[in-house]
C-alpha cells in the first residue's frame, strides 16, 4: 500500500516537472513575438521615417515649392499608419510659417502627442531651405 502511494506521488512529481518545463517553453516561445508590435515604434520615429521617405527623391521639396499643401497632406496620410493624427507646419529659414492652410488630417487626437522637426533643402536653383514641424498624435 505504501509502495503504491509512493508510486503515485512520484508520478505526480514527474507530471509537475513536465508541466513546469512545458509552461516555460510555451512562455519563452511566445515572448519574442511581442517585440515588433507597431505600438512599440514611437510616433517620433514614425514621423521622421515618413518625412525622410517623402524627401528621398526630392518630392517633398518640389511640393512645398509648388505650395501644393493638399498633395503634401495626401502623401502624409498615405505614409503614416492609420490611427495616427498629424499636423504639419512649414517654416522658412527665418522661422516664419509658409503654409497658408493647415496640413492636417483633422487635428491631433490620441493619448500621446509628439513633435518632430525636419530640415529640408530643395533641389532648385535658389536652394530654398525649410524647417518642417510635424506634430503627431496616436
Amino acid at each position: 500500500m505504501i509502495k503504491s502511494r509512493r508510486g503515485a506521488v512520484h508520478t505526480l512529481e514527474a507530471f509537475m516537472a513536465a508541466v513546469i518545463i512545458f509552461t516555460t517553453l510555451l512562455y519563452a516561445a511566445a515572448m519574442p513575438r511581442e517585440r515588433d508590435r507597431p505600438m512599440e515604434r514611437p510616433l517620433e520615429a514614425v514621423g521622421m521615417g515618413a518625412l525622410l521617405t517623402l524627401d528621398g527623391n526630392g518630392t517633398l521639396g518640389r511640393l512645398i515649392e509648388a505650395e501644393s499643401w493638399e498633395s503634401i497632406e495626401l502623401c502624409l496620410r498615405a505614409s503614416l499608419p492609420a490611427g495616427v493624427s498629424f499636423n504639419l507646419t512649414v517654416l522658412d529659414e527665418t522661422g516664419a510659417p509658409v503654409n497658408d492652410r493647415p496640413i492636417s488630417n483633422g487635428g491631433l487626437v490620441g493619448r500621446d502627442v509628439e513633435s518632430v522637426e525636419y530640415l529640408l533643402a530643395v533641389e532648385s536653383g535658389s536652394c530654398p531651405l525649410y524647417r518642417l514641424r510635424l506634430q503627431l498624435g496616436g
Binding site: V9, H10, A14, M31, D55, G58, G61
Partner: protein, 251 residues
Amino acid sequence: MSRKSIRGQALVLAALTISLAILSTQAYVYQRSRAEASADWSALSDYVLSIEQGSRHVVVASLVNVSNGGAASNFRGNLDRWESLAAGDYQFGRCDLNATVASQTPYSDGLWLDWGTDGKGVSSASADFTLNLSGRGAEIDMSFEGNITTTALVSGSFVRFGGNIKQVTVILDLLNEGEPALAESIDLAYLKEAKWWDPSVLGSYSRQDFGNGTYLYSFTDEIPGNRVPVRFQAYDRRVVFVQAEAALRAG
C-alpha cells in the same frame, strides 16, 4: 524521509532550475534585442540620415544654379546657410555641421564644369561634410561626401553620300554619378558654315530614346568639310545643365 522521496523532489527542483535558466536566457536575449532596436536610436539614425540627405540636396541645388549660369560663390553660400540652419536645431542636442568644398584638381571652389570639345562634358559639385551631434545622450561624429556629377558623352560618325551630303549618326550617353540617367531635355546642333544649326527641322531627322540614358540621333544634310562638329546641350532630371561637343569623322 526516504531516498526515493528525495529523488522525486529533486526532479521538481531540477525542472524549476531548468525553467528559470530558459526564462532568464530568453529575457536577456529579448532585452538585448530591444535595446538595439530602441526607438531613440531609430529616431536618431533617421535624423542623421535626414541631415545627410539634405546636404546632398544642397549640393544638387547649387550645381543646378551654377551650371545654369549662377555665380560659383553660390555653392559656398548655400552650404553656409545649410550649416546655420542645422546649427539651430537642438532635437538631439548640439548639431555642428561643417562643409568643406572640394579643392583638389579638377575642382575649384567645389565645382568642376568642363564642357569640352572632346566628346565629354562634365558638370560636378563636391563637398565633404562632418557632422557632430552632442548632448541629450547622443554622441555622433561622422563624415560623408556629397558629390553630384552629370556627365554627357558624345560619339558618332557620318557617311558621305556624294559631294558634301552627309548622313550623320550621333549618340549621347547621359550619366549621373557615373550611372546611366534620363534627360529632362536635349538640344542637338551641328556646325555648318561657322553657324550652329538645329537638325530637328530637317526631314531626315530621327531621334531614338533607349530609355537607359542613351539617345541616338540621325540626320542628313549638305555639310562641307571632313568633320562634322556636333554639340549637345542637355538637362538631366535634376535640371543640371551639361554641354558636350565632338567633331565626328567619316565612319
